[in-house]
């Protein structure tokens, strides 16, 4: 079985905060029918502007929040509504790395406790063994043995992210979801952490869902890329295909925004007109039509389905 994870038509609505006098009942449409698969051993990159639902999707897959509609399958098993014990078993296989390692580590807990906690929670090892195992994993991500009894505030941001990765790694998961894991790091550290992700993947046969708004990072780490806009999938394609020849106008615009580190190189940037529409009232038809430079009347009326041609998926009436 090659497919590790399958998401089917995921929808997530949040009730919008309304004031006392506002006529209530408005809803934020964070995700509007997202379907995709993750193959064993691949790195799926997730890109999109802020607010497009990347993090919400990640949290739904990790069962940190429940979707309004749709189902998530892990190794063929529907995990969308699992309870307690069965969910705990799934959690061993799906681990999460958060964006901000200042927020994701308990400030009152020595890091050795944080990293050994997964073993203790799952009753895999006794406290003493759990500690030595945690020490081993920490040294694997580059935290020396002498530092393991320190507290998070004694570490740099990069080191903290290594600790957070060690925690995710502890249970030997099959899938790691990394939600903007390098966005809060210095550029010099970003490369180190990215390479650590790559290294660990080789070593432990991991599968990643890697979220970033940085297209360069996604290009570097991903095998396949999924482009999202307003809670919908715009395009899914193999890394090289997507970067060489985008099919969706939104992808094209995104790619044109990548800065080229060569002042002499001239290139035409596609400037998207207007603002991102609010998530409470989505545009009719194709959600991108309000800002698309190729938009035609059909785009306003009809929602484009996610179509496949030669292994590439896109949701557009007039693919490039």
């Amino acid at each position: 079985m090659k497919t590790l994870l399958k998401a089917e038509n995921i929808v997530k609505n949040f009730p919008a905060k309304t004031g006392f006098f506002a006529s209530g009942g408005s809803v934020i449409h964070a995700l509007n029918g997202v379907s995709f698969t993750v193959e064993r051993g691949e790195t799926l990159g997730l890109v999109g502007e802020s607010g497009c639902g990347k993090s919400t999707l990640a949290k739904i897959i990790a069962r940190l929040i429940t979707p309004t509609d749709g189902r998530v399958f892990f190794e063929g098993e529907d995990i969308t509504h699992l309870k307690q014990n069965k969910l705990k078993k799934i959690r061993r296989n799906i681990q999460f790395v958060f964006q901000d390692p200042h927020a994701s580590l308990n400030p009152q807990m020595a890091i050795i406790k944080t990293v050994s906690e997964p073993f203790i929670v799952h009753g895999l090892r006794r406290a003493k063994e759990a500690f030595s195992e945690a020490e081993r994993i920490l040294s694997l991500v580059g935290i020396p043995k002498e530092m393991v009894s320190r507290y998070p505030h004694e570490f740099s941001t990069g080191q903290r992210q290594r600790i957070a990765i060690a925690r995710a790694l502890a249970l030997n998961p099959k899938l790691i979801i990394a939600d903007e894991p390098i966005a809060s790091l210095d550029v010099s550290i970003q490369a180190q952490i990215l390479n650590l992700f790559k290294e660990l993947k080789e070593k432990f046969n991991l599968t990643y869902i890697f979220i970033s708004h940085d297209l360069r990072v996604i290009e570097y780490i991903s095998d396949r890329v999924l482009v999202m806009y307003l809670g919908k999938i715009m395009e899914v394609a193999k890394n090289s295909d997507l970067y060489n020849h985008p099919i969706h106008p939104y992808t094209e615009a995104l790619l044109s925004a990548i800065p080229i580190p060569d002042p002499a190189a001239k290139k035409k940037r596609i400037i998207l007109k207007g603002e991102i529409p609010g998530l409470t009232k989505l545009p009719s038809g194709c959600v991108f039509h309000t800002r698309c430079r190729y938009a035609e009347p059909k785009c306003v009326e009809e929602i484009p389905a996610l179509t496949e041609i030669n292994g590439r998926y896109f949701a557009c009436h007039f693919p490039l």
């Binding site: 990790a62 940190l64 969910l87 994701s104 580590l105 308990n106 400030p107 906690e117 957070a164």
Partner: protein, 274 residues
């Protein structure tokens, strides 16, 4: 870090030393008091403070200093036990309300509102009038009526902390609710509780003194600052020392707890520059 900031605050340090001194006196009462607090000596009735009796004697010739030293034991233990009960109840209910939210939160918070509307002192008087005065009753009733502010504090901390990513991270490794509450959220929610605990002890000491003064608290001959005051009231005009020293002890004790509590609050507040 905490110590460094706390040490800079001279007033708070004074409070800490006084509070610590009182604790030592209470523990070492049999060794530091010059006389047995309950020995009646009719030859030494209503002696003014002097070389034999530093703080004078009462109408039965008992040494005031010794009685006050033993009274420290009563006052402090009532204060600590009562507030410990209040804190435990407050932490449990506050955690449940803050963590689970929704119906549980509404129920617990309405209970808090109801309890806050009850005048504690008169509730105490009523209960003691029914079941009879006892130091244990005083402790429990003060504890059972004093948990509301702590519950509110803990709930507020939980509301912000439960959204933090380290809590999500704990959930993603499969940690149980109990584990998340006690190992992850609570340790990060404790600093306002410490302050509230110290301030609460002062309040409880004051309340115990008031009750004992009215005769509803610690019963004579067991000495307590409140009932030494009561006994001295009748002789107020001829023997000022009978009410002056217990009153001063209550005042200074409460004051030192308040400045200690305030000092801890300031030292824990990272936004405050000291």
């Amino acid at each position: 870090m905490f110590w460094k900031r706390f040490k800079k605050n001279k007033l708070a340090l004074t409070g800490a030393i006084l509070v610590f001194g009182l604790l030592v006196i209470a523990i070492l009462a049999p060794f530091v008091s010059p006389y047995d607090p309950n020995i009646i000596n009719m030859d030494d009735v209503l002696q003014a403070p002097g070389s034999r009796h530093i703080l004078g004697t009462d109408d039965l010739g008992r040494d005031i200093l010794s009685r006050m030293i033993y009274g420290t034991r009563i006052s402090l233990s009532v204060g600590f036990v009562a507030i410990a009960i209040a804190t435990i109840i407050g932490i449990i209910l506050g955690s449940l309300a803050g963590y689970y939210g929704k119906l549980i939160d509404s129920l617990i918070m309405r209970l808090v509102d109801i309890m806050l509307s009850v005048p504690t002192f008169f509730l105490l008087l009523t209960i003691i009038a029914i079941v009879g005065p006892s130091i244990w009753i005083v402790m429990f009733v003060i504890g059972l009526t004093g948990w509301m502010s702590i519950a509110r504090l803990v709930r507020a901390e939980f509301l912000t902390l439960k959204e933090r990513e380290f809590v999500l991270a704990a959930r993603s490794i499969g940690a149980s609710d109990a584990r998340i509450i006690f190992k992850h959220i609570l340790p990060n929610a404790m600093s306002p509780v410490y302050v509230s605990f110290i301030l609460g002890v002062a309040g409880a000491i004051l309340m115990e003194s008031g009750l004992s003064f009215l005769g509803f608290g610690v019963q004579p001959p067991t000495p307590s600052w409140g009932n030494i005051l009561t006994a001295g009231r009748e002789y107020m005009e001829v023997a000022w020392w009978l009410i002056f020293f217990p009153g001063l002890a209550i005042l200074l004790t409460c004051l030192s707890y308040y400045i200690l509590g305030e000092g801890i609050r300031q030292a824990l507040d990272p936004k405050l520059k000291i």
